[in-house]
């Protein structure tokens, strides 16, 4: 029977991070992935020779707030990941469709504050308070600074106040409130349900800088793969744990894979969706309390994604840019699953070098909920009904119309290459309902994080602490801090940061 120190389940960015840190610390690691290739939603896909991003479109953390750069340095992959910054205010834009009003911002936390003050001169107090609170929460969250030597922190007061409550206490200006919560699309939980603290932890770095990455998520996958070779990390794709056997004293003795082979391991770290973890443990082997807890998690929002090429030959290469359209001036309303049309639409522009030269691309993603596609849940990729195809066609057309309204100069030049619904994401990413950020990060919730169910099984991933690339990677770092013991981990971080 094969023996490993650690099995890491799931090869999204949190699984990749966890496996690499453990491997770099002389542990024998096996990384398993249910899909045919590693990378999860980092993977790009190609259509007509054009690369499109699946789940990783842009991130913060590359400038001023260095959380992401620090993590990449520790993993020695910093040079492989080239940020392409959003530079110009017209490329960082929020449009309120119902008021025909647009707001643009330069990059930088202080700059955002200054420009917000210029837009709303009568809201000085609200704006100053909001920005100083966001900053102080971010700075006081020690887990977000991997250089810090910290003990577990008790929750902050702002962990039990919702974003909505905080904004209501700051101002009555609806437009300002929507702007303050504008990045809710980047964590997938509405202002009435997410804590002000978690909102701040995610948005701070997005105020500081927004960047795409050259070659998208594939740059990460390639960099990790190279490192895995160096540390002899084994990878098995098309593989998952089908059962946990020989349980004694609450410890799993044998991990059985879907191909029937059996493995021994000191630890097994699950970086997959919490509901997929529950499935692996099998509900009949867990307490009702555990399964109720996991089944009680609510899925985050998802997206309906449209992949478009701008065919205008006179169009200059797109700078990396993001424009978000808000149909209503009320963020909570825009998260309502009953809304079927004109949901917030995020339009990401970039240009890609291909064999046929530079091409201008638009990834447009519109907020979506499971109930939009639930009717076709029993179908699988390539075998969907005519009604489903009609749903996709209509939604894609409406999205294009909204893009043209925001960018009249694109009229006649939008070539839709493909589109993806939450069902597509479900089926390609083994995610129970195709949500974009795993579960919602609700106030007072106990996420699956750290040791769960058995003494040698652990949970990490973007549902564990915070969503997105930064949150997912952080969950891997935090788990390794525990598995390697604090002293070993701190030395490792220090040495790596000095080296890189």
């Amino acid at each position: 029977m094969d023996r490993y120190d650690d099995i890491v389940v799931g090869s999204g960015v949190s699984g990749l991070t966890t496996a690499l840190i453990l491997g770099m610390n002389q542990r024998r690691v096996l990384l398993i992935e249910k899909s045919p290739a590693i990378g999860g939603s980092l993977s790009r896909f190609y259509k007509k020779g054009i690369p499109f991003d699946t789940g990783f479109h842009f991130t913060g953390g590359f400038a001023n707030d260095l959380v992401l750069l620090d993590m990449l340095s520790v993993l020695s992959i910093k040079d492989d990941i080239q940020p392409e910054f959003v530079k110009y205010p017209e490329d960082n834009q929020f449009i309120f469709e119902d008021q025909n009003r647009s707001f643009t911002f330069h990059q930088g936390f202080e700059q955002n504050k200054k420009e917000m003050l210029a837009y709303f001169p009568h809201e000085k107090k609200a704006i100053n308070t909001y920005f100083s609170k966001v900053k102080s929460i971010r700075e006081n969250t020690k887990a977000m600074n991997i250089r810090a030597d910290f003990e577990m922190q008790p929750p902050m007061d702002e962990d039990s106040i919702s974003l909505k409550e905080m904004l209501d206490s700051l101002t009555e200006n609806k437009t300002l409130k929507t702007l303050f919560s504008a990045f809710s699309m980047c964590h997938g939980t509405e202002p009435s349900k997410i804590s002000f603290a978690n909102h701040s932890r995610v948005t701070y770095s997005l105020y500081e800088s927004i960047a795409r990455v050259k070659n998208g998520g594939n740059a990460f996958i390639k960099a990790f793969k190279n490192r895995f070779k160096k540390y002899n990390i084994d990878i098995k794709t098309n593989t998952f744990i089908s059962s946990c056997e020989d349980i004694e004293k609450r410890k799993v003795g044998t991990f059985v894979l879907n191909n029937g082979s059996k493995l021994k391991a000191e630890n097994c770290i699950f970086t997959i969706h919490p509901k997929e973890i529950l499935k692996t443990f099998r509900e009949e082997n867990t307490s009702r309390a555990f399964s109720d807890r996991v089944n009680g998690f609510e899925e985050s929002i998802g997206f309906f994604l449209t992949f478009i090429r701008n065919t205008d030959k006179n169009q200059k290469p797109f700078n990396p840019g993001i424009t978000t359209l808000y149909p209503y001036n009320d963020m909570n309303k825009m998260f309502d699953p009953q809304l079927k049309e004109d949901l917030p639409l995020v339009i990401v522009r970039n240009s890609e070098k291909t064999k046929n030269g530079n091409i201008n691309l638009i990834n447009a993603f519109e907020l979506s909920h499971w109930n939009h596609v639930k009717a076709w849940a029993d179908s699988s990729t390539g075998r969907r009904s005519r009604e489903y195809k009609e749903y996709k066609r209509k939604r894609t057309n409406r999205i294009c119309k909204r893009i043209i309204k925001a960018f009249p100069e694109y009229k006649g030049y939008l070539e839709v290459i493909d589109s993806a619904s939450m069902l597509t994401f479900r089926d390609y990413l083994n995610n129970p309902q195709g949500s974009a950020y795993g579960i919602k990060q609700k106030i007072g919730q106990f996420n699956l994080f750290g040791r769960v169910q058995y003494k040698n099984t652990f949970a990490a991933g973007q549902s564990a602490i915070l969503p997105g690339v930064v949150g997912a990677m952080m969950s891997g770092f935090t788990i390794c801090r525990y598995l390697l013991s604090k002293d070993v981990y701190i030395d490792f971080i220090k040495n790596q940061l000095q080296k890189n």
Partner: protein, 82 residues
Amino acid sequence: MSDQIETMINEVFEESFEIEKEDLKPEANIFEDLGLDSLDVVDLVVALQKKFSVEIRTDERIKDIRTLEDLSKFIKELKSES
């Protein structure tokens, strides 16, 4: 009222952890007698929060709870505070 709280706590142990009714005595130690593991604590807290609509998460007093009696005393205190 107090009996009702004890009954509700017992229900949590019966329904959520499949523990036999006759084992649920006030002096029963949650870990040694009822067989819960430290791994079950978060699940227990979540189940109790739901059952009693209270916030237990950040309360320091939960660390001292050993028996079912301790637990019902704690819930009663919480209820009287709110």
